[in-house]
């Protein structure tokens, strides 16, 4: 017996110009905020963008975006609703407020299902908020989406960066392009992560200072677009993604 779903994924994404996975070796480094802010900034500049929350067991982008009652439309598949100017897809539409306790095989199945039935249409950028680590979701996405690029987020901690090094090594083995590394929640001006990033031959994109007021911007995209994280994301957009 053959699972037919994988054969249609390339077709579903054929009109998406760039597909960027925002990823990290460890959880809690702020990749959902980076992914969401990046998508919002691209939308603000007039690009057609989509945000896909692939962190099935711990989704949070719906909270960052302040999604209330949006639901996908059923039309020859699933058409993501437009939320704050971006096409937005999340498992939360279906799991609601319930926990989604998924093992690796279930994560792969849900990922393949959503990739095979979601009709993104024409997009300039599809940003994917990844779960932490280098297990099923990363491996499946690299296998199924041939044009994927990775943007990696770390904190200033060498513990987080150690996992990033492993992720970089894996992505290189898989011949996946790495856009660069973002250092998030910087508490001081130390350049340790910048130097370490250069040592492994990856572009250091920016350092985002820790912002104690960020919590107040969750669920309010206008406030979010005026935070320190948004200002730094603009640099990534201008100096790297659009240059």
């Amino acid at each position: 017996m053959i699972d037919p779903r994988e054969d249609v994924i390339t077709e579903r994404l054929k009109n998406v110009s760039r597909i960027i996975a925002v990823s990290s070796g460890k959880g809690g480094v702020g990749k959902s905020l980076v992914a969401t802010t990046l998508t919002l900034e691209l939308a603000r500049r007039g690009y057609k963008v989509g945000l896909f929350d692939l962190d099935f067991t711990s989704p949070s982008t719906h909270l960052i975006l302040g999604v209330k009652d949006a639901q996908p439309k059923e039309e020859k598949g699933i058409v993501p609703p437009i939320v704050n100017g971006l096409a937005y897809m999340t498992l939360v539409y279906y799991s609601g407020n319930q926990a989604a306790p998924l093992r690796g095989k279930d994560i792969s199945n849900a990922l393949i299902e959503l990739l095979s039935v979601t009709q993104w249409g024409k997009l300039d950028f599809l940003i994917i908020d990844m779960p932490p680590g280098i297990s099923d979701a990363v491996l499946d996405l690299v296998r199924l989406v041939k044009r994927i690029e990775f943007l990696i987020v770390t904190t200033s901690s060498l513990l987080a960066f150690e996992t990033v090094k492993k992720q970089v090594s894996l992505l290189r083995d898989l011949k996946v392009p790495i856009i660069g590394i973002v250092e998030n929640m910087k508490m001081n001006s130390a350049q340790t992560i910048e130097r370490e990033t250069e040592k492994i031959g990856v572009k250091f994109l920016t350092g985002i200072p820790f912002d104690s007021t960020l919590e107040e911007a969750l669920g309010d995209v206008t406030k979010l677009c005026n935070t320190a994280i948004a200002n730094k994301i603009i640099q990534i957009v201008e100096k790297t993604l659009l240059s």
Binding site: I2, P4, R5, V8, E75, Y93, A100, D106
Partner: protein, 132 residues
């Protein structure tokens, strides 16, 4: 018409096999549909008829249904999925992404959501016959 997207996947996979097997004309495609996803057979059949390429024009689509078997990873209990135990919104959510069953269904014996879908998850391409 979520079934349309699944039908496109079936056709894409069947075309790939037909090409690999060098089938000039496809005569029969057998599809297995798991109960868990609650696929509407009439809609799937209609979508398949609309999507079939020229070398499938005389192909018969045989759709067989499979019951959904679940097995608890905690206590080992095995049971069959029953749609009647769920409300319409939950059935619809599982229809779109069968894995969200883990958010709504629990082992009837021990209450754990950590179970395995051993059979009857979604749509499978079971067999394809044709002439070379």
């Amino acid at each position: 018409m979520h079934e349309w997207a699944l039908a496109e996947a079936v056709i894409a996979a069947a075309e790939k096999i037909a090409e690999k097997e060098k089938l000039r004309e496809v005569k029969e495609v057998t599809i297995k549909v798991g109960e868990l996803q609650q696929v509407e057979e009439d809609i799937l059949r209609f979508a398949l008829s609309q999507l079939k390429p020229s070398n499938f024009k005389n192909a018969e689509f045989r759709i067989t249904k499979a019951r959904t078997a679940l097995r608890c990873r905690v206590c080992g209990n095995s049971w069959l999925f029953k749609r009647n135990n769920l409300d319409a919104a939950t059935v619809e959510a599982i229809h779109f992404v069968p894995e969200v069953a883990h958010s709504y269904i629990k082992c009837p014996k021990c209450g754990s959501p950590d179970f395995e879908i051993t059979e009857g998850r979604g749509v499978w391409l079971e067999n394809i016959k044709g002439v070379r």
